[in-house]
């Protein structure tokens, strides 16, 4: 946001070009190899290199607060296109997310793609993967509507083809179709927002939107905001526009799911931040309703996303629903920031924006980790149904360990990264008393109930996901014979896990960088030094106090307490105590087996009952008797329960059904007779002539 010196430094420029070139290389190089294994290395190794370069570029731009302008060679030839790249702090931050996740995922993909050797084209996977990442990088670097939309579409198309990569599976084609239709719907709204801006400024460049003279009238800004929220909200998976997300993410190969969930939906957040805070920055209380709309949509997404994640049996679908939840939290923070900005509470707006962007970064780290973990489970067992897993902690210790780190992080537990952004979001919610509007104050406290409920259910969801998949007895042959995944996959997960830990116990790394890249209040720049704490100043009713938290110190204290506890246990239990391995207590019946342990469905049953209004659970019991005359002796009994997506059922199905019915009716005029069509032409012409006459 803040204007800083424009730097056209040769070093940055070369980094940018080298990064882009690596991805192009990664896309084209595998085409030259015949063997799948070589093709996989040839596409993912350049991708990893490209992401390292991207990280270097983005991190140095974000930390220094510098901006990079990249003119294109043919720019002089066609000045009217204004096709150039411009990377400021905001772009650099999101570019960093792309780089960090891509690094982990590229390493992981080298091993993961062996799943497809001989079955699918690795060349196509490598090509699309690299194009997908490159288009996302260029989306963040775009500085005008034209290039933004071109790369936005490239991103959508590449990901669409990746979603239907395993196209022999019919459900994947269906989810691909839902995805592409919803994406175009979203793009239409985004285009609408940009067109409204274009009509106002007469230029397609982002610069002109940013510094529009005279300032845009309020109604234009309102229109732009609503169109952008719907458009980018569709891509982000904001409820009720989320329909495509839980279908598309699980359909794609797991390495791509990781990218889509951790990075692609962040591009929508980037667009939303760019439009709301950069182009139409809220500055008067009149725009507070934007923030409230985002708070409502965000908390609704968070709650509904996590509620559906809680009852899901498919591990990847559950993760996809959890992305809806997390994007809700990000948008909640962004909305609070807009509310605070509208009332000119700059310091609080900085806290809320930090919460929102920090959560984006964290979500990128832990969600890519969890999707890679789910991919490893799929790789090892060939199933993503939690009911068929179990006991994997012993068979796949590394995967289990890293998945546990991801689960702790996403459940927002100290000392890992999810907790830091959740803490900041809570502080932003608690600071809402400073907003001078009682209606807003009370509404925000309602939003905070939804937020806290989300946090509680998220914990339960990930206990279930980790516990059912990795602990207790294996529930199927597939899980019994699971094996640990190849080293590159473990390494990929390790990179993401390291990010979860680093952003957790060293928040100054990320907080300082976000502060400088978004030009936030300098109170966060102090956070660059280790041991300093994140803090928020309170002043209410004559009481002033500082709420603060220092994760490095918390981590150190936990470490010292752990040392003390171990020391105490050694001293107090001085006599050597033995440990005997014996079977689980079975109430004396003997022979506990895997059919007696809790399943994913039974574990979440209480939650399903409490929130039945959203799930509409249906239970069907089918009984088979030995003889028709005697209903008391049963041969078999089967209970099936299913839950529904209320939004799909109540919102989308009627609309889709009505649309199809409408077009069925319209087909009546399509008779196939030429004379009828000629009549239509004549009638249309006559009506147009009449209209022209009336107007003139």
């Amino acid at each position: 946001m803040s204007e800083t010196a424009l730097i056209i430094d040769g070093g940055y420029l070369i980094l940018f070009q080298a990064a882009a070139l690596s991805f192009v290389l990664g896309a084209l190089l595998p085409l030259a190899f015949r063997k799948d294994k070589n093709a996989s290395v040839a596409s993912f190794a350049p991708a990893a290199l490209g992401s390292v370069l991207t990280i270097a570029l983005a991190a140095s731009l974000a930390i220094s607060g510098a901006t990079l302008e990249v003119p294109l060679p043919f720019a002089a030839a066609a000045p009217e296109i204004e096709f150039q790249f411009y990377i400021d702090g905001m772009s650099a931050f999101f570019m960093l997310i792309i780089g960090l996740v891509t690094l982990a995922v590229s390493i992981y993909s080298i091993g993961y793609s062996s799943e497809y050797y001989g079955k699918r084209s690795i060349k196509a996977l490598g090509l699309l993967f690299n194009l997908f990442v490159l288009s996302m990088i260029l989306v963040t670097a775009s500085d005008n509507v034209f290039s933004f939309l071109v790369f936005w579409e490239a991103m959508s198309l590449a990901s669409f083809f990746l979603v239907i990569y395993e196209h022999e599976n019919e459900s994947n084609i269906k989810s691909g179709m839902t995805y592409i239709v919803m994406t175009y719907l979203g793009t239409a709204f985004i285009l609408g927002a940009f067109l409204a801006l274009y009509f106002q400024t007469g230029s397609l460049s982002f610069d002109s939107f940013r510094s529009s003279e005279p300032p845009m009238p309020a109604y234009i800004r309102d229109i732009v905001f609503v169109l952008a929220l719907v458009g980018f909200g569709t891509k982000a998976g904001l409820v009720p526009l989320h329909l495509w997300l839980p279908q598309a993410h699980p359909s794609a190969p797991s390495n791509v799911s990781a990218l889509m969930s951790a990075v692609m939906i962040k591009m929508a957040i980037y667009g939303l931040v760019r439009v709301t805070l950069d182009f139409t920055s809220p500055s008067s209380p009149d725009s507070a309703w934007w923030g409230m709309l985002m708070v409502v949509a965000g908390s609704a997404s968070a709650l509904i996303g996590v509620l559906y994640a809680a009852i899901e049996k498919d591990i990847k679908r559950a993760l996809a629903f959890s992305s809806i939840e997390n994007i809700g939290i990000v948008i909640l923070g962004l909305g609070l920031s807009v509310i605070f900005l509208s009332f000119d509470l700059k310091a609080l707006a900085a806290v809320a924006l930090l919460a929102s962007t920090y959560h984006s970064l964290n979500h990128a780290a832990f969600k890519s980790l969890l999707f890679m973990g789910a991919g490893s489970v799929l790789f090892g067992t060939h199933t993503k149904n939690m009911e068929k897993l179990g006991g994997l902690a012993k068979k796949m210790p590394w995967t289990a360990f890293f998945f546990l780190i991801g689960a702790i992080s996403i459940s927002a537990l100290p000392p890992l990264n999810g907790f830091v952004s959740e803490w900041l979001t809570m502080q932003a919610l608690l600071s809402s008393y400073q907003v001078p509007n009682v209606i807003l104050q009370i509404s925000i406290s309602f939003a905070s109930i939804a937020f806290a409920l989300t946090a509680g259910i998220a914990l339960a969801t990930f206990v279930k996901m980790f516990g059912i998949s990795f602990l207790s007895r294996p529930r199927s042959e597939a899980a019994v014979h699971a094996k640990e995944v190849p080293k590159t996959m473990i390494a990929g997960m390790g990179v993401a896990a390291a990010m979860c830990i680093a952003f957790g116990i060293m928040p100054f790394l990320a907080a300082g960088m976000i502060a400088s890249s978004f030009g936030l209040d300098p109170q966060f720049s102090d956070a660059m030094s280790p041991f300093s704490s994140l803090s928020v100043l309170y002043s209410a009713g004559g009481i002033e106090s500082i709420s603060s938290m220092s994760m490095p110190a918390v981590a150190i204290m936990m470490g010292s307490v752990a040392a003390a506890v171990v020391g105490f246990a050694v001293v107090a239990g001085s006599r050597k105590t033995a440990r005997r391995i014996y079977s689980t207590w079975d109430c004396g019946f003997g022979e506990l087996n895997e059919r007696m342990e809790y399943t994913a469905a039974s574990l979440s049953q209480p939650i399903r009952t409490v929130f039945r209004i959203l799930y509409k659970p249906r239970m069907a019991v089918t009984k088979e008797n030995y003889s028709d005359s005697n209903p008391y002796i049963k041969k078999s009994m089967r209970v099936e329960s299913e839950t529904k997506d209320v939004f799909e059922d109540r919102l989308y199905s009627p609309v889709v059904g009505a649309t199809i019915a409408f077009f069925d009716k319209i087909r009546m005029i399509q008779t196939g007779k030429v004379n009828a069509y000629l009549l239509y032409v004549m009638v249309t012409l006559a009506l147009l002539l009449l209209l022209a006459r009336l107007i003139s």
Partner: protein
């Protein structure tokens, strides 16, 4: 130097919490026994139990993984670290700028996360049953607790526990801040839920109809069981301390200058906590375990109560 002294006093406070927590459990059992016209075991019984368990051999399920073995340690570490941030008989914790009330709740969450995993790890139906019930109760307790903190933080300023307790000591009671009264009601309900008391959970039984917490940790024995039980007592004392210091702050010493005021503060704290413990134990003898699906109603009441507190604050 003064800094080092404060830290030393703070660590002493934490050690006292850790050391006295089982005593509180003993007192509550005694009160319960007396109200039921039983003699009951000595109030020191929890210590004897812990000492005995520490020396016993362990039986570990062959189905369990490293999660089962590490969980008691994680839970214990989380609870003691939380104890470092909670002011008990002093008006402050020296680590107030390191961790606030949200960190304390986060650490409780960490402990709960591992306890629920343990329930699933041993592959018995009991464990799953406990984890499943805990999932529902804890996910509903969370909003009630956060909203209570919302009210407290609005009324007293911020989330820093030391300054919250300091501010609480200065205000003149519920007449001045009626929203706090509603928060107190909510916090009391949450406290019953979080410490696994009736009507949510019955800490004394091992019956599949009533177990929640006990079901999850059923497979523990020996040293691990001792640690799980001790951690549970520490959590209980911490929640009692929070309630007492935030809502009934009378008698908290203003500073550390005079030894007498500190001693009086400590005595007052112990008296208040014991009174509260007796109240909770008495409530337990009067209440029956509720059906699991009635529990959300009670928690909804807590949420509603603190929501009224929020509205009271703003109007």
């Amino acid at each position: 130097m003064a800094e080092a002294l404060t830290i030393a006093v703070g660590i002493a406070q934490t050690s006292a919490i850790v050391a006295l927590a089982p005593l509180l459990t003993g007192v509550m059992r005694k009160v319960k026994a007396r109200t039921q016209k039983r003699v009951g075991a000595s109030v020191l019984q929890p210590y004897y139990d812990l000492a005995k368990l520490m020396k016993k051999d362990e039986v570990v399920s062959d189905q369990s993984s490293w999660v089962f073995r590490s969980a008691p340690w994680v839970v214990m570490v989380a609870m003691i670290t939380a104890a470092l941030f909670v002011p008990a008989f002093l008006p402050f914790s020296p680590f107030g700028t390191v961790g606030d009330i949200l960190v304390v709740l986060g650490l409780f969450g960490l402990a709960r996360f591992f306890t629920m995993l343990v329930g699933l790890d041993v592959a018995s139906t009991f464990g799953g049953l406990g984890a499943s019930r805990e999932m529902m109760i804890s996910s509903l307790t969370e909003p009630a607790l956060f909203l209570t903190i919302f009210v407290v933080s609005l009324s007293l300023g911020g989330t820093n526990l030391s300054s919250l307790v300091g501010a609480a000591a200065q205000y003149a009671g519920f007449a001045e801040a009626p929203s706090m009264l509603f928060a107190l009601i909510a916090f009391f309900i949450v406290l019953l839920a979080e410490t696994g008391r009736l009507p949510f959970d019955n800490p004394a039984t091992h019956l599949e109809l009533t177990m929640v917490h006990e079901a999850m940790v059923l497979e523990y024995s020996g040293k691990s069981l001792a640690m799980v039980q001790w951690s549970q007592s520490i959590k209980q004392l911490l929640l009692f301390a929070l309630l007492v210091n935030l809502f009934i702050p009378a008698g908290i010493p203003a500073s550390l200058d005079s030894g007498w005021s500190v001693a009086a503060g400590a005595a007052g704290f112990v008296a208040k906590v014991v009174l509260l413990a007796m109240l909770v134990a008495y409530v337990e003898t009067r209440a029956a375990k509720w059906r699991l699906f009635r529990v959300p109603d009670l928690l909804a009441m807590a949420i509603a109560s603190s929501m009224i507190g929020v509205i009271f604050f703003y109007l």
